[in-house]
Symmetry: C2
């Protein structure tokens, strides 16, 4: 689709998946990598690659002479040579050498982002042991000592626990080119991929949550199960971060962030000028993958749609373990029985412990189904603890029927998921009436939130709540109200979402006042009204609404209806046996 030939520095799994995307568009890619059978080279034939280090000046120059555009799948490359290529006009370099150089040095990266008003953890340069000790006094303990250059997958980091630990850390990291960073008390690690065209135009992927084990990314959940306001903030931070990079910063970028314990603050951890492990899920889960968008960006083609095409996805890294290649095969073979799972193995021969050998993507119709599917694989990972294996083995056996009823353990998981239903009521006096709705949603494993929003006492809050609801990820709002009962109708006037109204019975008029006030909405703004005081039915309606596009919950509703029938059948039997007199 483009006659330009691309040269890529580095031929590992990122290069491999990049070539996969390029292959589909018949775009020629030449790889510079010292390994003859590197992962990327395995899937492109009839093209001559260069079997030299991607730090070699000569090899980079040779690659540039054979290609129209150079790009990278790793930032630890020879930037001087890339700059020379740019200067001589041998090939376009995307992202530019200066961008790669800036990101290569994590201290310079931080200075640059700080200058551009991005929110970062506090940091300070440590060229000497004394500076590192000063940092400890300034930041408190624990704090983190980091190498400015060459760090990845947790290597090059040292968590300093106390004053007496500073010297060991300083020495452990090789005593040079270090910086210190204040420890961020985070609740989640977030990441966002951002793609940028040479013109500076950017497109931003969804916010994902990354879960690390031993400093290596183990799991990625998309979208991150966080409140929509925070999600919006994280997207903005990521977009701003990549937008502020110098001219010539074309390509895909990964932005890693911390969500502070306060639940509101998002700070940038670091960026990567290339496809990123936290973006692998995009291959199966987004309209256009990070790899194809990187390709489009470096060729200056229109950017592809970055949105999720499935409701939920996860990425599980498959690492080498103590059992060599068997450690790799275990989770992959397990995934063959998991609906929605796709294996990606990178063609690496040597499965040494901790090495990224492949990944598995899982897609699902809901966060609940995703958790169920993912758990069936995670218990088989090489580095899963015995406790975990046991716990997940139990879960797996309980999940033979994928859409079984929700266990107590799962209910805890669901609490941490982004709410799909918002239950609101005008006053805490309505809680006894609305509580059954909450109980039913919990029983169905539907993530929800419950709060007080009063049309008459907190009108501003009502406006805010209703206007933001669909942006925050809610799919249905259940509103309970009594008497004049304006809440459901007013909320419906402010949101495009379906609103379910529960007429709460007051002291007079038997709730008919609430019913009529809620149901008799003018043409144009509907409220789905249920029976007086019947919040159970509001919750069941919410489940049906979500289920109409989500088989997991549709099946659960069918099961619920079957159970109701069985319940009555038992009563029939008991009535038959006991007789009506003694029943």
């Amino acid at each position: 689709m483009d006659k330009q030939v691309i040269g890529i520095l580095g031929g590992g799994q990122l290069g491999r998946m990049f070539i996969e995307a390029a292959g589909r568009m018949n775009i020629e890619v030449r790889v510079l990598d010292p390994t003859k059978q590197s992962p990327a080279k395995q899937i492109s034939s009839f093209v001559s690659h260069i079997d030299e280090p991607f730090t070699s000046s000569e090899a980079i120059k040779k690659l540039a002479q054979e290609c129209d555009v150079l790009t990278v799948e790793i930032e630890h490359v020879n930037c001087d040579e890339l700059a020379a290529v740019e200067k001589l006009g041998l090939a376009k370099v995307r992202p530019s050498s200066s961008t790669v150089r800036l990101i290569q040095d994590k201290y310079l990266q931080k200075c640059y982002l700080e200058e551009h008003n991005l929110s970062l953890p506090e940091y300070v340069k440590c060229d000497t042991l004394e500076e590192a000790q000063d940092a400890g006094r300034r930041f408190g303990y624990p704090f983190v000592l980091k190498c400015r250059l060459g760090a990845y997958d947790g290597r090059g980091n040292y968590v300093v626990k106390s004053e007496s630990d500073v010297a060991s850390g300083f020495e452990f990291l090789g005593c040079k080119m270090l910086y210190a960073e204040k420890f961020v008390p985070f609740v989640k690690e977030l990441a966002v991929m951002v793609v940028r065209r040479p013109s500076g135009q950017v497109a931003t992927y969804p916010v994902v949550e990354t879960v690390q084990r031993d400093n290596i990314c183990e799991l990625v959940y998309a979208p991150a199960q966080i409140d929509g306001q925070v999600r919006g903030l994280a997207m903005k931070v990521a977009t701003d971060t990549i937008s502020c990079l110098p001219e010539g910063s074309a390509g895909i970028f990964g932005v890693e962030m911390f969500l502070h314990r306060d639940g509101k603050t998002v700070v940038v951890n670091e960026i990567a000028p290339r496809p990123h492990n936290s973006g692998h899920y995009t291959i199966e889960a987004c309209s256009t993958s990070q790899f194809e968008n990187h390709l489009r960006a470096v060729l200056d083609l229109p950017l592809g749609d970055t949105s999720l095409k499935v409701p939920a996805a996860a990425m599980i890294n498959v690492l080498g373990g103590s059992n060599g290649f068997d450690s790799v095969l275990d989770p992959c073979l397990a995934s063959l029985d998991v609906a929605g799972a796709t294996v990606h193995l990178y063609g690496k021969a040597d499965a040494k412990p901790g090495r990224k050998m492949g990944h598995i993507t899982v897609v699902a119709d809901s966060a609940l189904q995703l958790r169920r599917r993912t758990d069936m694989i995670v218990g088989k990972l090489a580095n899963a603890s015995d406790e975990e294996r046991q716990r997940l083995a139990y879960r797996q056996s309980a999940l033979v029927a994928e859409n079984g009823s929700v266990s107590d353990e799962e209910k805890e998981d669901v609490k941490a998921m982004s709410p799909l239903v918002g239950i609101i009521m005008g006053s805490d006096s309505d809680l006894p009436t609305m509580r059954p709705a909450a109980q039913l949603l919990e029983q169905f494993g539907v993530p929800f939130e419950l709060t007080i929003v009063s049309a008459h006492r907190t009108p501003d809050r009502m406006f805010e709540y209703a206007r933001a609801a669909h942006k925050r990820g809610l799919k249905v709002i259940i509103a309970g109200a009594g008497g004049a009962a304006h809440l459901p109708g007013m909320v419906a006037a402010l949101t495009p979402l379906p609103v379910v109204g529960v007429p709460v019975k007051g002291r007079c008029l038997d709730g008919v006042d609430s019913l009529h006030s809620i149901v008799q909405m003018p043409r144009g703004v509907p409220v789905a009204t249920v029976a007086i005081n019947n919040s159970d039915n509001a919750a069941l309606l919410a489940v049906r609404i979500i289920g109409s596009s989500c088989p997991t919950y549709l099946d659960a509703m069918q099961q619920y209806m079957d159970d109701m029938r069985t319940g009555v059948e038992k009563k029939i039997e008991r009535l038959d046996i006991t007789g009506w007199k003694d029943y």
Copy 2:
């Protein structure tokens, strides 16, 4: 993931996409194809392929000696040699030589399927011109003369228009190994991929609609926009067809079918013992692609989930045209601007007219969005007529904003889509009350159906309708009823879908009887009740329900609400200007 090496006869685009799937699982595939740089060979390096015809006995034997399993990407192979490989135990052959042989000869294929009670168009063998003439007398005109062997993409078929045309057809097809088939007056061509393990276990993909131009598949829509009952029937026919094949029939199979003009009968047209053009959409749109499932089947691994992971998908074939490679590039470049589109080019050098050079998959959140996205590409195809180009160019310009309002032309398209909403009412006397719901759904571009279902006069029909609704693809049911008004509640008791109830005002009690009867449902079975006689709001609620998981309709609802506001603002202005006396 499996140490077995696979040998594939044929190295075209099907082999290429097969190797893509195998590459991800690090499974070695060797290709037998006469072309040195055939599409499949381009994306697999470090493996020695065989550059010989896939009909060559020697080459097949050599391949078998190097591999554990042989499979095919084309059925026109040397079956004798495959049988010899089986007999000598050189390699497993999947599907078996006898299955390939059976399918290779379309006449034998038909005899076999007929023996197994599958519904087929009438057919008869024609070894001589006299037999062909007899066929014409028996079947009437037009009828179709077909080659038993070697036919594909419409080649080897001749539509005989009249008695005087029989001899030309007979001659055109080479006068030998022919059969005649009665012409099926079909409304749609359907196709289903079915994957089968060596054990005989099968998994069936969704039913798709294929659209041909000049006897070559141009478009595939998934799922087919047909009634769910027909969809179920087509799935059953496809499943039965592949299940009845002889033992050893492992791999993926394509089943092409006709949907008869009667709208109810589905007959098998033909089957393919390999990945099929009508299944390319599965790469982006299903949990496991047809290629990966073929791989799993021939290696006897667990089959992957065949369900759609997106609401709607289309596949557009990209053929060579009179402008050579530019004909190919035009639609591909256009697709870069279309959200949800993914290009697959096959790496073929020579873009001669009609040659399959690649395809474009489009995914979308609804059939409406899919049509909009697809139309932006179809107008650029090499073989689009001038009339089409013009029509679609207009549509494209009208669709700059992807989620714009629904044009009159689109409303016609929507009528042919599978209904998402069912509007039902107890009596035709309710139609005046329910008509506004239909008008609004039409305005929003929501496919719907409208019919009479009476709880009291047609209780059986009500049971059937409600029980089948979610299986037929409905997402919401709107039920209008007056007086005792049992319809909405009874339907809700029979379906897991959300049911919206419209209380219809009768001659007495002002509709309060209907309202209370509909809204006051017992705990366990909710009905979403709207205001008396307010079917507008029922439709708007249905749009909100569908929109809660489908951005196209959520955005449309937001737009509708904005328009309402603007409408009132205009009235405010007019009132201000005119004054309240003259307003």
